[in-house]
């Protein structure tokens, strides 16, 4: 369960995020949509304590994020390439994350086996460092690494961007499977309305930092969103 209270973030006079209250129950698959500058990445950065809120706070499973670090063991994320260590090979990176999250090599190998299809033979055993992989392949590595160690809260910023169609479809499958578990809360942001309505039970629309729509996904949701963004 994630609770947001009076959360604002200001840079100078500009308010980039202002959420009065928001509750995300455990196990929900939560989609965040909005145009550029709507505050999606700001919200995720606040969830990871990478920036400090101007007012208010976020509580993740009973842990207030900006005052305790106890949320780290059960939370994982992939925001951008600053979550990758460029001079490691993908294998080394996975093992590194695994070791940090208390998983040995065998555990990680077992998890990776399930993603062989997703990797499409372009990740493992390539004799390349992460910095030399293409943007799309880097993203695949980051997303899979965020699943290591059975996290209860997974945050993915724009996971569909930069991926090829086949991988996008596979990724949707992966997120849906995670979402079906009652233990795992998945937070996804996207510009792609079709993808996000397909994988998320609930969609929240941000506009210029304000929460403007909060929708339980249904057949009409896509249309509603298209009207919102089109008009």
């Amino acid at each position: 369960m994630i609770t947001v209270q009076n959360l604002t973030k200001k840079y100078g006079d500009a308010i980039v995020l202002n959420i009065e209250s928001l509750e995300i129950p455990k196990g929900q698959s939560f989609g965040l949509v909005g145009n550029n500058g709507a505050g999606k990445t700001t919200f995720f950065s606040l969830m990871l304590d990478l920036i400090q809120p101007t007012t208010g706070h976020i509580v993740n499973n009973g842990v207030q994020i900006d005052s305790s670090e106890a949320w780290k063991p059960f939370t994982s994320a992939f925001i951008d390439e600053t979550f990758l260590i460029g001079y490691l090979t993908p294998e080394e990176y996975f093992y590194f994350i695994g070791e940090i999250r208390g998983r040995n090599k065998a555990d990680v190998d077992q998890l990776l086996e399930g993603f062989e299809d997703f990797f499409h033979d372009e990740i493992l055993g390539q004799k390349k460092y992460l910095r030399d992989l293409s943007k799309g392949n880097q993203k695949k590595v980051g997303i899979v690494a965020s699943l290591i160690g059975d996290p209860e809260v997974i945050i993915l910023d724009e996971p569909f961007a930069n991926l090829d169609p086949t991988t996008q479809i596979k990724l949707k499958g992966i997120i849906k499977e995670l979402a079906s578990s009652k233990e795992v809360t998945v937070l996804v942001s996207s510009h792609d309305l079709i993808h996000v309505t397909e994988v998320c039970e609930r969609i929240v629309v941000l506009n210029k930092g304000e929460l403007v729509r909060d929708i339980q996904t249904s057949k009409e949701t896509l249309k509603e969103l298209e009207v919102f963004f089109g008009g």
Binding site: D49, L50, I51, K72, T82, G86, L88, E99, K127, G149
Partner: protein, 490 residues
């Protein structure tokens, strides 16, 4: 066309992140540059008379004898520091600009670099002195032009061999061995090379050869780049073949081992960190200035401790100083992963500890200068571990300069690393141990001085947990600022 290029250049210079510093540092930089110019100028004028007064023989002949080392040294410095012209080409490629023009401009840019004209500060005054002292004007002009051509040759050699590490290190190794051979009078390469440099004076027309060589190198660099101006050829970054490495023997250290493994990979696989480690290796020999009595100013007993601190602390100063900036490119990961600051800091501390111990062992050749010298190294190492290791980690919390691991730019000092807080922290790093030693040395005895410094280290070591808790809280406090600073790529 040139107008456009120059305008771009102007903007890239004045808008670069490194230029937007505060005025004081800019003034310091200007003074620094002026200082070095003055030194070179003084050397150019003074070299002639110095050599003459010392009675080493004809100054021109002496200079010519060592010229080969000067040239190779110049090539080495270029290889490490001179930026390649290809970096800013990419956005120009698809524009309607002639390829020859782009290549010509890029190579032309390397020609006007400081690495070329900087040498003029030595050669021009030296040549003028030669003329004043009655050397044949034609000969001096021939020699001067020949030398000039050779240094420009270096420029193009560097352009051509850039990123060919094997060739480069082989050359470096070869000349180091030759230098040692010459010192011990086993084999003297200069007997083969100096006749050529002498000939430039004796037969001035020989300078034409060097200019011919220069033209040949310049054209081959030109054609090489023109032919390779594709994203997957000459403009491609070098991609090394990656190998997954395990370092399973570090597993026994638990979480600490995880970070140590990562740090070892960090050092081995990135150009910038490799340079830092190589530099720290050279620190070991820094003590030779002190113990051989080569520099008179360093003869006071207190300076031995200064030397000891530097000999064992090379890694501490060149690598430790920039913790946590080494991890700047993935700092958000480190901050949101299941990592405790304490473990992160401890692993860096162990790395410094290991390197300090290794340097101390490598420095055992100082025993040649007596126990006294080596004792200074050991005491310096204890102080480095017990006190300085904390101080560099502490100072690191305030250095918020992102490091680009893949390039060597700024490897030799970055102005942002010199803010007032880090400057204040260097005082206890270097001055305090000198003071502590002096206290023991002058009040009781030299041995007491050593004991005092050693004790300071041991006491510091004893407070490890306390100090770490303090540093940890500072890192936490600075966390958001650090994250924001690392986001702005240099």
């Amino acid at each position: 066309m040139l107008k456009h290029f120059l305008r771009l250049e102007w903007k890239s210079f004045f808008r670069s992140a490194s230029f937007r510093g505060n005025l004081v540092i800019k003034i310091f930089m200007v003074f620094g540059a002026l200082y070095f110019m003055a030194v070179f100028l003084g050397l150019g004028i003074g070299a002639f008379y110095m050599i003459e007064n010392q009675g080493w023989g004809d100054p021109l002949v002496v200079v010519n004898r060592y010229m080969i080392y000067y040239l190779v040294g110049d090539l080495y410095i270029r290889y490490m520091l001179q930026k390649m012209p290809i970096t800013n080409i990419k956005p120009l490629l698809y524009l309607p600009i002639n390829k020859s023009k782009i290549v010509g401009y890029s190579l032309g840019k390397t020609v006007v670099s400081f690495f070329n004209w900087g040498h003029a500060f030595f050669f021009v005054p030296f040549s003028v002195v030669l003329l004043v002292e009655g050397y044949s004007p034609i000969g001096v002009i021939g020699w001067h032009l020949g030398m000039m051509a050779l240094f420009f040759c270096n420029n193009f050699i560097n352009v051509l061999v850039n990123n060919k590490d094997n060739v480069f290190y082989m050359l470096l190794g070869l000349f180091s061995v030759l230098g040692i051979c010459q010192y011990y009078e086993l084999f003297n390469i200069t007997t083969y090379t100096s006749p050529f440099f002498d000939a430039l004076y004796a037969q001035p027309w020989m300078a034409l050869f060097t200019w011919g060589l220069l033209i040949a190198l310049a054209t081959s660099a030109f054609t090489y780049f023109k032919r390779h101006m594709y994203l997957d050829a000459g403009l491609a970054g070098k991609k090394s073949l990656a190998k997954t490495e395990d370092y399973a023997w570090l597993n026994r250290f638990g979480n600490l081992g995880t970070f140590l493994k990562n740090d070892i990979k960090l050092i081995r696989r990135n150009k910038r960190s490799k340079t830092a480690v190589i530099m720290s290796f050279f620190f070991i020999f820094y003590g030779l200035f002190f113990f051989t009595g080569a520099v008179e100013a360093y003869d006071g007993p207190v300076w031995k401790i200064f030397a000891g601190i530097f000999i064992s602390g090379g890694f501490l100063f060149s690598f430790g100083q920039f913790v946590p900036s080494w991890d700047s490119s993935y700092y958000p990961l480190m901050m949101s992963q299941n990592i405790r600051y304490r473990e992160y800091l401890t692993s860096k501390w162990y790395l410094i500890l290991l390197a300090t111990v290794a340097s101390t062992i490598l420095a055992s050749f100082y025993l040649y200068f007596g126990w006294d010298a080596y004792l200074a190294v050991i005491v310096g190492a204890i102080y480095n571990i017990g006190v300085n290791s904390y101080l560099v980690l502490w100072g690191g919390a305030y250095i918020k300069t992102p490091i680009d691991l893949t390039s060597n730019k700024k490897a030799f000092g970055d102005k942002q690393a010199f803010n007032s807080k880090t400057l204040l922290l260097t005082l206890p790093k270097l001055i305090l141990p000198l003071g502590v030693y002096a206290l023991g040395h002058y009040i009781i005895s030299p041995t007491a001085g050593y004991i005092f410094v050693g004790m300071a280290g041991v006491i510091g070591f004893g407070f490890r947990n306390k100090v770490f808790a303090m540093i940890e809280s500072i890192y936490k406090r600075e966390k958001y600022k650090t994250l924001a600073a690392y986001k702005q790529k240099a």
